[in-house]
């Protein structure tokens, strides 16, 4: 299903759309308040952009440096070309430790690789420990937002879900009660876990360490209790130096939720004595995206989700309407690089208003990239005949002033003289809920000619 169709289904329940829109606008507003309080915010964005651009231009060297330092720290480093290889590596590590129960903190990469079903197929239990992720896991849904995975669910829906899966009492959607119950449920899982999987927000080349940001402390809880810690990261998560965290940690939480910093910014460097730590470094299409000059900056992304919160289309269509691991504006420039045909409607799910680019903490020119993907999609994927033909016709009309005048005259006459029922009939999608302008008798050209004649 393309985005437009999914969005129109989402829009059948206008109250829910309003609620979704307001919830995310609230986060965008909180972000505004937080960033306007930081002197030099725009400089921070420039630094963030610059450091990422530099890192991506020297990625080969920084990856090698990172691996060397991580190995020195006693961490085992694995390389995966794609999602499948990533899943097999994680699976083999778990097998080697005879791990049957796994707790996993937030990681969009493991979503992208579909790690959970891969492990579950071999009887391994994987529990997502981020509260929002646990909610969507219980509902058997993918996350609809990268920072707020269950933002599409109301607290009443969560209440019902917990009654069914966790045996809670009906509470009318009492957030405190439900959170408390989730906490008890997850605590048992943490204590009995054989291994913990985490994502990586920043991997630091000059120390071999990495940082995981959470608000719930669930990454730490998992990694500190289980004897095995597997951290999965895309190759673009690298930053050259530890000191660069001073830029990115300040940008990340403010952009994501309007907090000055995430509640937990956990620095991992080496395994606890007697425990094992693994890092899986994954490409899965990133090198290919890096090779596209127009789109390489999409790899700057630090997954804050600000472009989703600000996007008027995302807020009114919901994350699931994008049918992609990463929804919203950033997803719409990443996904076409993976499967152009499947995701061909996404770059068109935008008015090119540019809010995403301005809100982006690492200054990705998201709306310009959406425009560029459009040019590629119309050339490389099948397009509806009507669209293609009408664009060709318009191109011809606008190239020739005489033609333009003639077509304009006909259009104005039709708008003036055809009955409303005909004008607003089914093929005119515009007219479903909007009136068309009435056709004036004179165009500006006509008026101007007359005026010039009268002056003479």
């Amino acid at each position: 299903m393309n985005h437009s169709k999914a969005a129109s289904i989402f829009n059948k329940d206008e109250k829910k759309v309003d609620w979704h829109d307001k919830a995310l606008w609230f986060v965008r507003h909180k972000r505004d308040k937080a960033v306007h309080a930081v002197e030099g915010w725009e400089s921070l964005r420039n630094y963030g952009h610059g450091i990422k651009a530099h890192t991506l231009s020297n990625l080969d060297n920084y990856l090698i440096q990172f691996e060397e330092n991580a190995l020195k720290n006693g961490v085992q480093v694995h390389w995966a070309a794609d999602g499948d290889e990533h899943n097999k590596i994680v699976h083999s590590i778990l097998k080697a430790h005879n791990a049957k129960k796994v707790v996993k903190s937030k990681s969009m990469l493991t979503e992208e690789c579909h790690l959970n079903p891969f492990l579950e197929a071999d009887g391994i239990e994987v529990i997502d420990t981020d509260l929002g992720e646990r909610i969507v896991q219980l509902a058997k849904e993918p996350p609809s937002h990268i920072v707020l995975p269950a933002i599409h669910k109301t607290k009443e829906e969560v209440d019902e879900l917990f009654q069914e899966h966790l045996g809670t009492k009906p509470s009318g959607g009492d957030p405190q009660y439900l959170t408390g119950e989730a906490r008890k449920h997850l605590r048992k899982k943490f204590i009995s876990a054989d291994a913990a999987i985490t994502g990586v927000n920043f991997a630091i080349a000059d120390t071999g360490g990495f940082v995981v940001c959470t608000n719930e402390g669930n990454a730490d809880m998992g990694a500190h209790l289980a004897p095995v810690h597997i951290a999965c990261m895309g190759i673009e998560k690298l930053i050259p130096k530890q000191e660069h965290l001073g830029v990115f940690l300040r940008l990340l939480a403010r952009s994501a939720t309007g907090q000055p910093i995430t509640t937990y910014s956990s620095h991992f460097k080496k395994p606890i004595n007697g425990n094992k730590m693994h890092i899986v470094i994954v490409d899965n299409g990133r090198t290919e995206q890096l090779s596209r000059p127009d789109f390489r900056a999409s790899l700057h992304c630090i997954r804050c989700g600000a472009c989703m919160n600000t996007c008027p289309i995302y807020r009114r269509s919901g994350g699931h309407s994008y049918d992609a691991t990463i929804p919203g504006p950033i997803g719409s420039i990443l996904s076409p690089g993976k499967d152009l045909t499947k995701h061909s409607s996404l770059p068109f799910a935008s008015t090119l208003c540019g809010s995403c680019s301005d809100v982006c903490p690492v200054k990705i020119d998201i709306h310009s990239q959406l425009y560029k993907w459009r040019q590629i999609i119309t050339k490389e994927t099948p397009q509806p005949f009507v669209k293609k033909a009408s664009m060709k016709m318009m191109g011809k009309v606008f190239a020739k002033p005489m033609q333009f005048e003639r077509v304009g005259k006909v259009a104005r006459w039709s708008l003036r003289n055809l009955p409303k029922g005909v004008i607003n009939s089914k093929p005119n999608v515009w007219g479903k809920e909007r009136d068309l302008p009435s056709g004036p008798t004179e165009s500006f050209d006509d008026w101007y000619k007359k005026r010039t004649e009268n002056e003479q």
Binding site: S4, V35, G354, Q375, K388, G395, K396, K400, R412
Partner: protein, 245 residues
């Protein structure tokens, strides 16, 4: 200073009054303005739909019409932005770069080139300003809510000097209206919802008239307002600045 007036295709055909107001306003301000007769469209409708290559004819026609002017002025932030940003698809001759550098949206031209803020207009109504995205985030006609920096707005500079005019303030001061060119049709449900939300914000703020630098956004909003019989008038900013009621 020789100024060429560009009237966007849909204004030419559907909203001639906006073109007339623009021309009269520039003449009132003693601008030596000419309207070249061979103009059509900037090429944006095709380009934004992914058919940039079909817009080459329109781009060349635009440059041919305006290459001999010191400035090109147009009552559309979106068209001006398109020429500036996307005319990289044709060879960058001196004519092309000149046109790209010298194209201005009307308010931008009046405030930043003519250095005029008071155009001696009268308009005794409560005005809600719709900050069209391409003018705002593309041409930076004003400060954007996402960015941290000093607050400014060429549009508000002009409207604040209009006698009797009162500017209302929105809860979401620069959210997109949902027009978006072919988006208005291909993503009809979202486009309509965005427009409805925008109109509600204006109604809640007490506006009697919505204005903007772009008739395209206004056509979309007016279409909804008329269909739903809402108590709001829609006028292009040139019509307000040229008004003396």
């Amino acid at each position: 200073m020789k100024v060429g007036l560009f009237i966007p295709c849909y204004i030419n055909q559907l909203y001639p009054q906006v073109g007339i107001a623009t021309l009269e306003l520039l003449e009132k301000l003693n601008v030596n303005v000419t309207y070249p007769s061979g103009q059509t469209c900037c090429g944006q409708p095709m380009a934004n739909s992914g058919y940039e290559s079909e817009s080459v004819g329109a781009c060349n026609n635009f440059v041919d019409n305006f290459k001999d002017f010191d400035y090109v002025v147009t009552p559309s932030g979106s068209c001006a932005y398109h020429v500036k940003k996307h005319y990289d698809i044709i060879p960058q001759t001196e004519d092309v770069t000149n046109v790209r550098n010298n194209v201005y949206e009307l308010c931008d031209f009046i405030v930043n080139i003519l250095k005029i803020k008071n155009v001696n207009a009268k308009f005794p109504y409560k005005i809600g300003v719709h900050k069209s995205c391409h003018g705002l985030r593309g041409l930076r006609l004003g400060s954007c809510s996402e960015l941290v920096g000093p607050s400014f707005s060429s549009i508000e500079d002009l409207l604040n000097e209009v006698e009797g005019a009162e500017l209302t303030s929105l809860a979401r001061k620069d959210e997109c209206c949902g027009f978006g060119g072919t988006f208005a049709v291909t993503e009809e449900a979202i486009s309509v919802k965005m427009g409805k939300d925008k109109i509600k914000d204006h109604l809640d703020s007490g506006a009697e008239v919505i204005t903007a630098t772009d008739t395209s956004c206004l056509m979309h909003l007016e279409g909804l307002i008329n269909r739903n019989k809402q108590p709001l008038k829609v006028l292009h900013i040139a019509e307000i600045l040229n008004s003396s009621i």
